[in-house]
Amino acid sequence: MLLKLHGRHLRALSAATSRDPFLARVCKNPDLPAAARSRELLLHDGAGPLVDAFRGHLVRTPCDPGDRADVYLIGPEFDYVGAGDVVRVDPARGSLSVLYRRASAYNSMLVTERCDNYCVMCSQPPKDRDDAWLVDELFAVIPLMARDTPEIGITGGEPGLLGPRLVELVDRFRLFLPHTALHVLSNGRAFADEAFARDLAAVRHPDLMLGIPLYSDLPEHHDYVVQARGAYDQTVRGILHLKRHCVRVELRYVIHRDTIAGLPAFARFVARNLLFVDHVALMGLELMGFARANLDALWVDPLDYQAELASAAATLDRARIPVSIYNHQLCVLPPALHRFARASISDWKNRYFEDCEDCRVKHACGGFFASSELRRSRGIAPLRGDSAPLASTTGGP
C-alpha cells in the first residue's frame, strides 16, 4: 500500500466560510447530533444529502452544493480517507493534508525540520527555518485523535530542539491519549543536559520510548556519520541521562557502507556499556533524501553484510537485549535471522514487488520502502514451497 498524504487538487464546489486553513476530523455519520458536528467534516462516499452544522463536506463525485459553504471534491488519491482521520484543509491553496489516520497502527508526526545532525543518509534532510507552527498544529490535532490510538511517532528534524515545548507535547499526549504508546525519534543530544532529561521523565508518560541513533563504538566514526563533531559524546550522555531518569531508550543503527564494518564492534560496545537500553533496531537504508544523493557511496547489498548482521544480532541477543532487524525483506536474510526481522515500514510508504505475490512468507515480510525501486538486493526472490531462501546459500561474494 502506498498512500499520498498530501494533495493539491482539492476542488471547492462552494464558497469557503474562511480562507484560512483549518483542522477537522473526518466523519461519515450524517446522523451525528448537530451539537457535535462543529469540528467534523462529513465525508460522502455516495450521493448522500448535505446536512447542516458540519464544518464542511468532502465529496468523491461532483454534486450540487446548493447554498452550503465548504463543500470540497477530493480525488481518488484520497480513497483511503475514513472516519476519525484528522485533516488540514487549506481553501486558499486548494490542498488537503491527512495528518492522522484512524485506521493506521502507527501515525508519525513531524514536529520540526530543524536538526543539529546532518546524517549522510538522512531520509528527511533538515531545513533550517522557524517551523514552530508544526508543533502548534499538533497541539490542536491531539484532541481530535481517537482515544484508542495504539501508537504515535514523533519525528523530525530533531524533536529535542523544541526544548521545553517537547516536554509540554509529551505531557499533552499523556493527558489526551493516556493509552497511546509514544515513540520519539531523537538524536539524543539535547538530553546531554540532564535537567532536560529529568523534565521529560517528570511527565511520567505511561508508555514513552525514545529512539536514538548511535552509529559506532568510536566517537570519530559516529561524528562522521552524523557530520557533527562532538555529537557522539552528547548522544551517549543523553542516553545515560534518559535511562538514569527511567525514560525508555531504543538504539537505532542504520546500515550502509559507512556503518557496516563497525556493526559487530557496535554490538559489543552496547552489550558492555549500554546493557540497560530497552531495544536495539538494526535498520536497512531508506533510499530517500541524502541517502538518494549519496546512493552510490552508501549502497551495500544486504546479501553482502550477512556475517556482520548475524554477529551483531547474536551479541545483543546473548546479552539479553531485545534486538530487531528493520527494513529487510525476509528473502535477503538468512533463516537464523528471521526471528529478529520485523515488518517495520510504515504502511503509507510500504510496497511489494510483483515477484512477491508468489512468496509464501509475504504475510510475515515487511516488504519494501516505496523508494526501493532505485536499488534492490540481488537476493530478492519469492520463497516458494520449501525452497531455501537465496540468502541461506550465499554469504556474499
Binding site: 546532518y118 549522510v120 563504538d217 568510536l218 566517537p219 570519530e220 566514526h221 561524528d223 562522521y224 557530520q227 563533531r229 562532538g230 557522539y232 559524546d233 551517549v236 550522555r237 545515560l240 557502507r257 559507512d258 564492534a265 559489543r268 560496545f269 552489550a271 558492555r272 556499556n273 546493557l275 541524502f290 544523493a293 549519496n294 552510490d296 557511496a297 552508501l298 546473548r318 546479552a319
Partner: protein
C-alpha cells in the same frame, strides 16, 4: 569507492587530533609473544609486545585497529571526547554494585549425619543415627530471620549436610518459615537441596514440587570411579544417584536437578569417561572441580596425590573434549569456564561466591552450621572442625545480624581480600576475572592473603584464564562456542 556529495565532510575531517592519554590498565603475559591487557571494569584486549609498548609510550596511530580496540574499550582517551570517563565510572559502579546488596547465598547445614563414607568428604560426617548433630528448630528459625536481614534482592537457600534429606523435617520447617516471611519481603527466593538422593521418597518430592525446591547432587563419573570414592555401605552410590536423578527429573522437571563432580586422583586420566557419563544421562553441563584441601581429603592425604598441574592437564583435556562435543552437535558447557567467560564478557560479572573481591565468603554466601554457629563459608566451617575458627563469624543464639556483619572476624576478612590491594593481585591483568580465597590461603599458608607465588589457587586461576583467552584469540570456532556459554 564512491565519494559522498560535496556538501559532506570526509571521514578524516572527524579523526582524533593530537595525542591520547592512558586510562588505568593492567597487563600480564599471555604467552611468549602476547599480553593480556585489562581494566578495572573487566574489558580486555590481547596485544603483541610491540603493540603494548607503543600503547604505553603513546605512539599508537589513531587510524590503527589497535587504537580503535583500546579506545572503544576505554584503555585510552583522546582530546576530542570525554564520554569514556562517564562510561567507565558507570561500568565500575555497576560491577561493584553487588557488594552493596550482600548476601545472596544462605547455606543451612541441617544435619551433619550422612549415610555415605566418602574418602574426600569436606564435612566431618557423623553416622546416621546420632540426632544431636541435627540443627535445632529454634536455630533454624533464627537463621531464617537472619537471612532476611540481608539486603540482597535474591535469596538462595541451599540445604547442606551431611545428607540433608536425613533431616527433612528441618528442611520443611525452614522452607515454610522462609515462604511466610517472604510474603512481606517479596525477595526472589529459591531453594536447593545438596543431596546424594539415596533418601528421596514421594513425600519429599511432593513437598519439593509444591514449594519449587531443586536438587543438586554428586556424580563423579562412571560407576567404578564414582563408587570408588563415594562409599555407600552395602550399596552402589552411583546407582542411587542415577536413580535419584531420574526420579527428580520425572517429578520436578529436567532442570530441577544439577550434578557436580569432584576430581580425585583416579579421575585424572579419565576426563572423557566422566564427561561421557554426564552426556549419557542427558546433562548439558558439567562443572570440572578440583579437590579442596579440607576435611577428610587432607586427613586421608588424597590431596597430595595430585597437584594443581595434574588437575590443569585434566581440565584442559576436558575443555577440549567438551568443545569437540559441541562441534559434533551436542550442546555441552563447562560451568567453571562459563563463570570466567561471564566475568570476561558480561559487564556485571557474576555472583559466584569463590571468585569475588572482596572475598565472597560471608558477603556473597554465608553458612549456618548444625550447631547454630555462623561461618563465612562451607570451607570455613571445615577449617573450624580442624581447630581453626578464623571464619566463625558468630552464633545464631548470641549474635545479632548487625553484630555479625560488623564484627571483627567479618570485617577483617573483607579488609584482607580486596584484590585491588593484595600484593601481586593488584597489578595482575586477571584481577577482574579472579577472586580472593581467604580460606584456602589460611589453610595452606597460614594467613588470609598468602604469597601468590606459592598459591595453587593463583596458579590454577592463571592457567585456566590463559587457556580460555588463548582459545578465544586463536580458534574462532571454539570462541563462538565459548561465547554461547555466557
Amino acid at each position: 569507492m564512491n565519494a559522498l556529495a560535496a556538501k559532506f565532510h570526509a571521514r578524516d575531517h572527524f579523526a582524533p587530533r593530537g595525542t591520547y592519554r592512558l586510562l588505568p590498565a593492567r597487563f600480564t603475559r599471555l604467552d611468549d609473544t602476547r599480553y593480556v591487557v585489562t581494566n578495572d571494569v573487566g574489558e580486555h584486549v590481547v596485544l603483541t609486545r610491540p603493540e603494548l609498548r607503543a600503547y604505553v609510550a603513546r605512539e599508537l596511530s589513531p587510524d590503527s585497529s589497535v587504537y580503535a580496540a583500546l579506545k572503544a574499550r576505554h584503555f585510552l582517551f583522546d582530546d576530542d571526547t570525554r564520554v569514556a570517563l562517564d562510561l567507565l565510572a558507570l561500568k565500575l559502579r555497576s560491577r561493584m554494585d553487588r557488594v552493596a546488596s550482600f548476601t545472596a547465598l544462605h547455606m543451612f547445614v541441617v544435619t551433619l549425619r550422612c549415610d555415605h563414607t566418602c574418602a574426600y568428604c569436606q564435612v566431618s560426617r557423623k553416622t546416621e543415627d546420632r540426632t544431636n548433630f541435627d540443627m535445632r528448630p529454634d536455630h533454624a528459625d533464627r537463621a531464617v530471620e537472619f537471612m532476611f536481614r540481608s539486603p540482597s534482592p535474591a535469596l538462595k537457600v541451599e540445604f547442606q549436610g551431611g545428607e540433608p534429606l536425613l533431616a527433612f523435617d528441618r528442611i520443611r520447617q525452614i522452607v515454610l518459615a522462609a515462604e511466610a516471611m517472604n510474603r512481606t519481603h517479596a525477595r526472589d527466593l529459591q531453594f536447593v537441596i545438596a543431596s546424594n538422593l539415596t533418601h528421596l521418597d514421594d513425600e519429599i518430592l511432593a513437598f519439593c514440587k509444591q514449594h519449587n525446591v531443586a536438587f543438586s547432587t554428586s556424580l563423579d563419573g562412571p560407576q567404578d570411579l564414582h563408587d570408588a570414592r563415594r562409599a555407600l555401605p552395602g550399596a552402589s552410590s552411583h546407582r542411587a544417584a542415577i536413580a535419584g536423578i531420574t526420579r527428580v527429573r520425572e517429578a520436578l522437571g529436567p532442570d530441577a536437578v544439577a550434578a557436580l563432580m569432584t576430581t580425585t586422583p583416579d579421575s585424572l586420566g579419565r576426563v572423557v569417561d566422566i564427561i561421557d557419563e554426564y552426556v549419557r544421562h542427558g546433562f548439558n553441563s558439567i562443572f570440572l572441580r578440583s579437590l579442596s584441601p579440607y576435611g577428610f581429603a587432607v586427613k586421608t592425604s588424597l590431596l597430595r596425590r595430585y597437584d594443581v598441574d595434574d588437575w590443569l592437564r585434566f581440565y584442559a583435556a576436558g575443555l577440549d573434549y567438551i568443545l569437540e562435543l559441541n562441534r559434533r552437535g551436542y550442546p555441552m558447557r563447562e560451568e567453571y569456564a562459563g563463570i570466567l567467560l561471564h566475568k570476561i564478557f558480561a559487564p556485571g560479572g557474576t555472583g559466584y561466591v569463590d571468585l569475588q573481591s572482596p572475598a565472597g565468603a560471608g558477603i556473597a554466601g554465608i553458612i549456618y552450621n548444625y550447631d547454630g554457629a555462623i561461618y563465612a563459608s562451607d570451607e570455613g566451617r571445615m577449617l573450624a572442625e580442624m581447630g581453626d575458627t578464623t571464619f566463625r563469624l558468630g552464633h545464631l543464639e548470641t549474635d545479632s545480624f548487625d553484630a555479625v556483619m560488623t564484627g571483627d572476624a567479618f570485617v577483617d576478612m573483607l579488609d584482607h581480600t580486596m584484590l585491588e590491594a593484595v600484593p601481586m593481585c593488584s597489578d595482575c591483568a586477571f584481577l577482574p576475572y579472579c577472586g580472593a580465597d581467604p580460606v584456602f590461603h589460611r589453610a595452606t599458608q597460614g594467613d588470609l592473603v598468602g604469597h601468590k607465588v606459592h598459591s595453587a589457587f593463583c596458579r590454577k586461576q592463571m592457567a585456566v584464564l590463559r587457556l580460555l583467552l588463548t582459545r578465544l584469540e586463536d580458534d574462532p570456532e571454539a570462541a563462538e562456542i565459548l561465547r554461547s556459554w555466557i
